[in-house]
Amino acid sequence: MSDSTEDQYFTTAGRRKVAEDLVLPLPPGVDQETFGAALDRFRLAIGDHWVFTERDDVLLYRDAYSPLLDEEGEILPSAAIAPASVEEVKEIVRIANELRIPLHPISTGKNLAYGGSAPNQSGVVVLDLKRMNRILEVNEEQGYCLVEPGVSYFDLYKHLKDNGIKLWIDVPDPGWGSLVGNALDKGSGYTMPQHRAHFDSHCGMEVVLANGEVMRTGTGGVPGSKTWQAFKMGMGPSVDGLFCGSNYGVVTKMGFWLMPEPEAYLEGIVDFMHFDDLIPLIDHWSYLENSRIISGYPDFQSPIFGTPGITGLAAMLGAGPQAPDEEYMTLMARDASPEEYEPYALKHKIPFWRMRFVFYGPEAVIRAQWQYVQDRYSAAVQDVAFEEGNFYKLPLSREEEEALVDAPILGVPNLKLFSLGARNSWSGQEPSRGHAWTTFLLPHDGRELIKANRILNKALRDEGIQAGFVFNTPFNNWERVMKYVVIFQISADPEENRKLREAVPKIIKLAASHGWAEYRTHTLFQDEMRESYSFGGHVLPRFHDTLKDALDPNGIFAPGRNGIWPKHVREERAHG
């Protein structure tokens, strides 16, 4: 292959295509004249440079991982606006509300598996808050920060390091996301449970309402409040949750609680040899986590099925899975059930399940906690084995930090999991064009995990979609539930993407019929997710609509986000 051919491949085959005759849409329900007038006023408000209307600039706000990749019907914005301050946001919102221009706010636009920076509806103008990137306060003693939406995990991490502040952040997998955006999109991370659920770890927010007013929540309602980032509730109803996963306002500041840098870090590995061990494994894990005996991320793996958990994922994606032998291939070929792998596992002394528990704190304390975990499982489960994993005295040296395979579990942001679907040296497959995730919540019960695997894996096979593993092990970012993530790879082949688009709504419906609620899905499937919240004649989503009509009567914020549409759109749909 010549250099020129390689470069041709590199520059075209993997890139998003732009049809020569592609014309950007107008905002829904807005004529060209009104849109032009709105753009002129936006330019006056924030300067020409930050109102993007050129096609190539606006297309940078499409969904990089769209399940409608390069197909007709892909959702495209009409323009993008990037204010630098809350005053500019206020002015834009006032103009948009007056002229009925819908705005889709994004913080850094890195919610890549769930729609990225693209709106739910073509023509909606993206309100890009990336330039609002100030770290307004970090209080080391009290353990909190106050940040704007454009601040990424990398930015805050660097700020803490540069200033010698001994606080940790809790990071999701890609570190270039926004603290604010990730929290509002119900993101999560990998340190202590009270920090892993990013919305739950916030304290106080500032919101621009549809009428252009600026509101502060919690005790932030008192001018000069000294506890805005310390006390979540304030007076009367607690309203912060209204701005999470919704389209009721533009969040321009958020506070977050940060954890003190621990003295030490320890991993304790517990291996279980039998399929049925899954039930006591999870029951005791619940006790250990709910009692705070384990203080970090509980990483659940299955050596027999090759599921690496989060701590082994980056390494596995780099080196590839171990090649199965003939006996194992036979089990796979006849579609053996998970429990039928046990004789093979015992014969080859491969653990069926593995827990990698993480402990943070003073060394004496965490070693005692690890010993208690061993005592408890020894008494409860036969043939269980223990091994001490990584141990670090903190802080890490720069060399130790750079050598980390799984940095987020130590509060260090990186991008390593972008190897998921990337070109690799072991699969022989073409790289994917991204991925779309759809995520169900299971109770902390091994029986439900087994049942979900049986039912959802079969459903995926019936739809012609290859499940990643024989047994899908959950992510455990949140205490009390297991996250059952179904990852759909976006393909360069439109037929594969069509199968995905047809499968996801069916899987959501099927999961809901078993009580496995969906909490987060790609923008394309959010109406189906809404439909699954049907208790009481869909009273919950209808309540969301009531709030929408009260807080944003002209429907200017992110129409369709999580199934919440403005009143006029609902009425149009109802009339056919």
Binding site: R15, L60, A82, G318, A422
Partner: protein
């Protein structure tokens, strides 16, 4: 440009290096487990360096197309992330050979 003690091209190189370190290095720096480095190792099988800063054949067009067009799982970058001026500086840095081993 400032106090005149600094060569403007050095300013641009420094700016380009800063853009590289903020936006590219986490995926493309030489560490073998960085996803971009892994992917380019798999693609070129050693016929070209896997790490971007070791490449001597990168053209301005290739860098521009990759940043604004993305490539497979690598998303494209908006102008609020990497401005046109930042991109020009990044091109100067990556085509300068200053990072080549």
């Amino acid at each position: 440009m400032g106090n005149g003690r600094t060569n403007p091209s050095e300013d641009i190189l420094a700016r380009g290096k800063a853009v590289y370190e903020k936006w590219c290095a986490h995926a493309h720096a030489p560490q073998h487990d960085n996803p971009g480095t892994q992917a380019l190792q798999a693609k070129y099988q050693g016929s070209k360096p896997a790490a971007l800063i070791h490449r001597t054949d990168l053209t301005p067009e290739l860098i521009r197309d990759s940043v604004r067009g993305g490539n497979t799982i690598m998303p494209f970058f908006r102008k609020t992330e990497i401005s046109d001026e930042d991109l020009d500086a990044l091109i100067v840095f990556l085509t300068s050979g200053s990072g080549a081993a």
